[in-house]
Symmetry: C2
């Protein structure tokens, strides 16, 4: 055939583009530049305001109206990243980042992501890259062992683990599996009868997943929690709610229990909840998105006692496990339940390995077909640091949170408003401090009193909330740190979530001082 | 407060872990090592068998049973990646990769992913990193312009674009939006009446999305296509199917039209299909996952003529646009339809920017809450290469496909079985060549004739398919290239999808020679 190639290629007008977009030398040169750029970014990260201070639509004013027709050099692009993108970042890797829950990166996590990006395999099934499927199964077994999950959640015990992008996807996949198990018995036309259960502290991802899965909104049960149980879901209330639904002819299918709620890291009592749910054949998913990490430490493992009664369990390695976004670890006892709901077998994906049923095709364990090789970063984190160091890092965050709690707690103007189970401290300026502030200064703006209040008590509550809101906004506007808020039991509360990789004791001391300084100013004392 | 810190920190037992997991110097050192490793990987990529040749469960035998307790050096880990992971990869970046559709990486895409990983922001809403939201809106408008999408799909025209992970998610999100629009009028209890439409060539992602969204399986319409329309969906058949459903009291809600089907890159006629769908108020989504990229070239733009009648449009930048996995570009005319179905507003995410309604909170445009800063890699690709170079790269792939088609087509044993619209060539050993082969050699294994066949014609068909299957397996087992197959109109067909970044003319020549050599051997001529 050799003699044909010149002639034919001319006919076909193959203009070989001048540049190889994966040229190894150029890859090396530009790759090193970006590594150096990010290293400098980490070195200087404390110089930036933690919460971005830009105004909406700032970037459109800085960038061209359309993509360039011709190449621009990497040097120009890097300069634009520094000048235009960095100011618009909220610096999640800053040691002064205490907002939401942290997204704690690490060198090992970064390297794993680089490798996955470099290989750029699309691991939908085993044959598309055996290493991607197999490494995932292996690290999920490793992690399951570290969490002392019962063997029934591991591949060795006929369960298994899978890496999803986020908890939202983990909940949606397990909910669909639970839904279809029941519908296969009672008929698909009865989808309107299905009921799902969570508490008023359950993550909004659950509501969204239920909505996507076609659960009727009026069958989404939000069971109230109270301060008396530290915002944990009550098994008794769960039981009575279920019974009432059954009496109404409805069909309970799914409970989302939480270990470490987003607002306050409350812990639902898994054992008693599973006991109730199991009576009615309800699928129990345990969402330990944040707190699951800590449960690799023996002293925290008790928080997931009872997980053996659940059907599925997930936590986010991208939150508090030094693995970059996104990486949600999900274990299920019955992979076939997932597979029945989520598998598709188009001809173009058929292959001998799949037909042999000897391999795991993870496409059938998740929403999407395509999937990145996420297991690499988790493997690198586990190997680069080892179990003991990861434990000691998690403990140091918990201890820093204790420390912050003490520093804030000894200032009588503040109160801690929920038990600190892990590394989140929920606090606020107390109503009594505010009363004093009002008396002393008269400095509270009149608009705190706008709107009609039912009583003096309501007015005080409202005023307390507004002052705490003002305090948080003032702290965040300073750029020195970033915390966020929640509202529990009607109280506006500041959340200090410790866990950013770069956070050290000195940042905790500084954080408590910043909070106090801004309180000084706002309370005008 | 300074005097307190020593005392308190001792009480709290803050053991500062010895190592900083984001230490800039160590980050630089290890980052450079991995860049060099990947550069070497690209340099040597042709030395590896394209399709991994490992056996199921190969990796469990090579790795320890549990995670290490203590750190391992990066040098050891890199060696293990080389020794244990690389052999288990199917090399999607190889120039001899012609399977499925390519996943074409580039230096710029890699750098963008590195930056996103380094910043590791969780961009669920604007305030969590304004640059992430705003850059995404900007590049989606840029890309929309490049595709000559009508202004109604761009932010400037009250539509807008969002980066999803995959087409599966894009379809699920738009389907849920379409579903809820209708249910808000006819009542949520009528979910069982909703009907969705695609063809027998529509990607399996659509079936999966429908299943997840609670569409009754018997209301999932698969409209047959034929060779006579080159496997495109017929507007007349669509209309008659819709009418029949309406007569049966059902409610049509969604059509998934495809530009560039997975089997053969068939193109559904968007204009006429939208004309039909619009009469019945059906949401039309255009899935141009693969072929959308090519439509930035004026000569291919006609394939999406009629898109102005659709409600949403998506293509995968991670397929044929030099942007690493995952990156699916979705535009919608009515973002509010997505937001109504997918938004959640938990207190802990409330903020002033969101309340002002001046910003885009992308969490309400997708399934998950958390999201990576994907816009960076797309921005880097567009800027590093520019529109003209990207067009010339896409054209070179199409021209290489034409070239392959000619090389294979002039060998009379082969036939091209579907029109080559883009850079995919569908071909097979023709039945006549096989008849000759059988006569000449008697070399066809008996088991091709196993099973009862209705007729001699059926037997011939079966035999042709089995031989083509054997040919493909033989080619792939050689490790010299990787192609996959499909079945259309009962024919087992080999697919040669050209588009890997490193592929050059020489690889095309080699690929055609490999195919011919293996055909020689199998046909025993």
């Amino acid at each position: 055939m050799g003699s044909l190639d010149l002639e034919d290629s001319q006919k076909c007008n193959i203009n070989r583009p001048v540049e190889n977009l994966l040229d190894p030398n150029e890859f090396r040169r530009q790759g090193h530049m970006i590594v150096d750029f990010i290293a400098e970014y980490y070195k200087n990260i404390e110089k930036y305001p933690v919460l971005s201070q830009v105004e909406p639509d700032y970037l459109r004013k800085l960038l061209p109206k359309s993509a360039p027709d011709y190449p621009e050099p990497i040097e120009t692009i890097i300069q634009d990243v520094q000048d235009h993108i960095v100011p618009g970042l909220t610096h999640w890797q800053s040691p002064n980042y205490f907002a939401y829950f942290p997204s704690s990166g690490s060198i090992a996590g970064f390297l794993g992501e680089m490798l996955a990006t470099g290989f750029n395999v699309v691991g939908f099934n085993w044959v598309s890259s055996p290493a991607a499927s197999e490494l995932e199964s292996i690290v999920m077994d490793w992690l399951g062992q570290m969490l002392c999950l019962p063997d029934s959640f591991l591949f060795s015990g006929k369960g298994g683990g899978v890496l999803q992008g986020t908890t939202c996807e983990a909940i949606l996949c397990t909910l669909v599996a639970a839904r279809d198990q029941v519908l296969s018995k009672i008929g698909k036309q009865n989808i309107g009868k299905l009921v799902v259960y969570g508490s008023d502290q359950t993550h909004s991802a659950f509501q969204k997943a239920s909505q996507i899965a076609g659960i009727h909104p009026s069958n989404f049960r939000v069971i109230e929690t109270t301060t008396s149980t530290s915002f944990a879901l009550s098994p008794d209330l769960l039981r009575s709610t279920i019974c009432s639904d059954i009496e109404d002819g409805l069909v309970p299918i799914y409970l989302c229990a939480t270990v470490g709620t987003t607002s306050t890291t409350a812990v639902d009592p898994l054992g008693p909840l599973c006991d109730v749910a199991n009576v009615y054949g309800i699928w129990v998913h345990v969402d330990a998105a944040y707190a699951g990490s800590a449960c690799i430490c023996p002293e925290f493992r008790h928080f997931i006692d009872g997980v053996e009664g659940a059907n599925s369990f997930s936590f986010n390695a991208h939150k508090w496990f030094f693995t970059t976004l996104d990486c949600c670890c999900l274990w299920v006892k019955d992979p076939n339940a997932l597979i029945k709901s989520l598998s598709t077998n188009p001809e173009f994906l058929r292959n001998r390995a799949t037909d042999s049923k000897q391999v795991v095709d993870y496409k059938d364990w998740q929403i999407a077909l395509s999937r990145r090789f996420r297991a690499l970063k988790l493997w690198l984190v586990l190997r680069s640091y080892g179990v003991e160091k990861i434990r000691s890092l998690l403990r140091s965050h918990v201890n820093m949170a204790k420390f912050f709690e003490q520093l804030i707690g000894r200032d009588e103007r503040f109160e801690i408003v929920a038990p600190r189970n892990f590394a989140l401290v929920c606090f606020r300026v107390s109503p009594s401090a505010i009363s004093k502030g009002i008396i002393k200064s008269g400095g509270i703006s009149e608009n705190y009193y706008l709107g009609e209040k039912d009583s003096k008590e309501d007015e005080e509550k409202y005023c307390t909330n507004e002052i705490n809101k003002k305090l948080l906004e003032s702290i965040n506007a300073s750029g020195r740190l970033y915390m966020t808020h929640t509202v529990i039991d009607g109280m506006y509360v500041l959340r200090c979530a410790i866990g950013a990789t770069l956070t050290e004791k000195s940042h905790i001391i500084m954080a408590s001082m910043v909070v106090q300084e801004h309180a000084d100013s706002i309370l005008n004392m």
